[in-house]
Symmetry: C2
Subunit: 253 residues, 2 copies
DNA sequence: ACGTATTTGTTCGTATGTATC
DNA sequence: GGATACATACGAACAAATACG
């Protein structure tokens, strides 16, 4: 209707964004907005060539990138299909990775990548309820669940209170269990912040994702039953197979 | 500690990601994780050159990109400073854009970009509590608040129930007010999903953001007081000046 | 069982622009 | 600024798996 042939959307050539990338985003939007649902077959490469008015290679590049993130799966002779419903990570007071593992009947999978100490800042100390200048213990770890879910995590603890928790985590593969060993049998999610950015190379490598695909960043404060802060976490989460969900408990009137 | 000089992090050269982009992400991580807080001065360009072992142009490119997204601000002769606390968009049952405008003492700012009808799908109909094959009314709009907050929105309505709501919105600039005109005085957030992706060119243009910076995607279902679904929304939100916040109402025991 | 059309996968080649050094 | 490596985009052909009458 707009221009020449039967083009779907206006592609901007020479505008700094590769055409295949625009098509990749466009199809991703159509999936996110529900035009194509889980399990649906996408238009064939030939049809997409007609829709966008580009070479087949260009369409294939877009599809390959979507497949790389697990958003679609291609089957020779049949077509390209939208992947199943992405995993929904519910953000409530019981949000923790061990709960995700439970949903997959998976064992604790944490692998310690690095750990180090650094002096705290005023902000971090305030959030963790500590004095200024206290030393923080920081861990970097990778945790998985199921076939294609993984997160890269940064965890910050009061180094004095949780001395040696990095070893405990390295041994048992779970912060829930490691915290239990250090005297905190129960803890709960107090606050969560959601943001996004591009991944660091080491994060992308550890998560097995392309370096040019964005990641979700969940920052969170976990507290014990007495509301005393336990840890400040940053979870780096590949985009595509997981999304966050927040339900408002609608109590009428 | 790791390698030769005093390099901060391992930079991967020739790995498909420009060096300035890695530095950009690295500084962004340091801000997100609290190493640099709001208002803090970043290390000088000269210091960063030493930290990363690169040319000053490379550092300047990284800082320019951060400034473009409003994450830092450069002051000639003084230094580069971390921007103030990003706006926190709280996700509770009162989450709506008009609440954000209230926080900024801003007037309704919605501008209708496009509107069209399309047949619903099984999934969308289920979410909106409609019959299959019903026609949806879709609007695309831009809404702002304050100096540097903007969102690009897709809204889906039951076309039969909310006929003409695109005109109402175009006139008053607010869906809250437009819905009131169409008989829905109150509505509430029922469920929210958070994801991210790269922006479409038209989204980036409307929001005034670079095309190579990721955006947050908030999908949400708003219902009226009787829990009847009203609309399904997709808000495209530039990354950098806004983040989502979810608080668990911790009722002990 | 067979043949044909469809669809994805692979491999050549060619040209152009852009980023990086 | 010049040179080189890389990414982008297009074109043509063929191979392999699948669906269908």
């Amino acid at each position: 209707m707009d221009q020449a042939s039967s083009e779907k959307t206006a592609l901007r050539r020479g505008g700094g964004v590769a055409v295949w990338r625009q098509i990749e985003t466009d199809i991703e939007v159509d999936i996110q907005t529900g035009l194509y649902g889980p399990g649906d077959r996408l238009p064939s490469e030939h049809e997409l060539v007609g829709l966008y008015g580009v070479n087949r290679h260009t369409v294939r590049m877009a599809l390959a990138k979507l497949a790389e993130r697990g958003i679609v799966t291609a089957h020779k002779g049949r077509g390209v299909f939208v992947a199943g419903e992405p995993f929904e990570y519910r953000l409530d007071r019981n949000a923790k990775w061990s709960e995700v593992e439970k949903r997959f009947d998976a064992r604790p999978s944490g692998r310690l990548v690095d750990s180090y100490r650094r002096p705290s800042t005023a902000r971090l100390s305030r959030m963790l309820g500590l004095g200024e200048g206290v030393e923080l213990l920081v861990t970097e770890s990778v945790r998985t669940a199921g076939a294609d879910l993984a997160t890269y995590g940064y965890h910050m603890f009061d180094a004095a209170r949780f001395t040696g928790i990095e070893q405990s985590f390295a041994e048992c593969g779970s912060f829930t269990q490691a915290l239990a060993r250090h005297g905190t049998a129960e803890f709960f999610r107090a606050s969560t912040w959601i943001d996004c950015r591009m991944p660091r190379p080491r994060e992308a490598a550890a998560l097995g994702i392309p370096v040019d695909a964005p990641v979700l960043v969940m920052t969170y404060l976990d507290c014990d039953a007495t509301r005393r802060p336990i840890l400040l976490g940053h979870a780096i989460i590949p985009q595509g197979r997981l999304r966050f969900r927040i339900d408002s408990d609608i109590d009428p009137a």
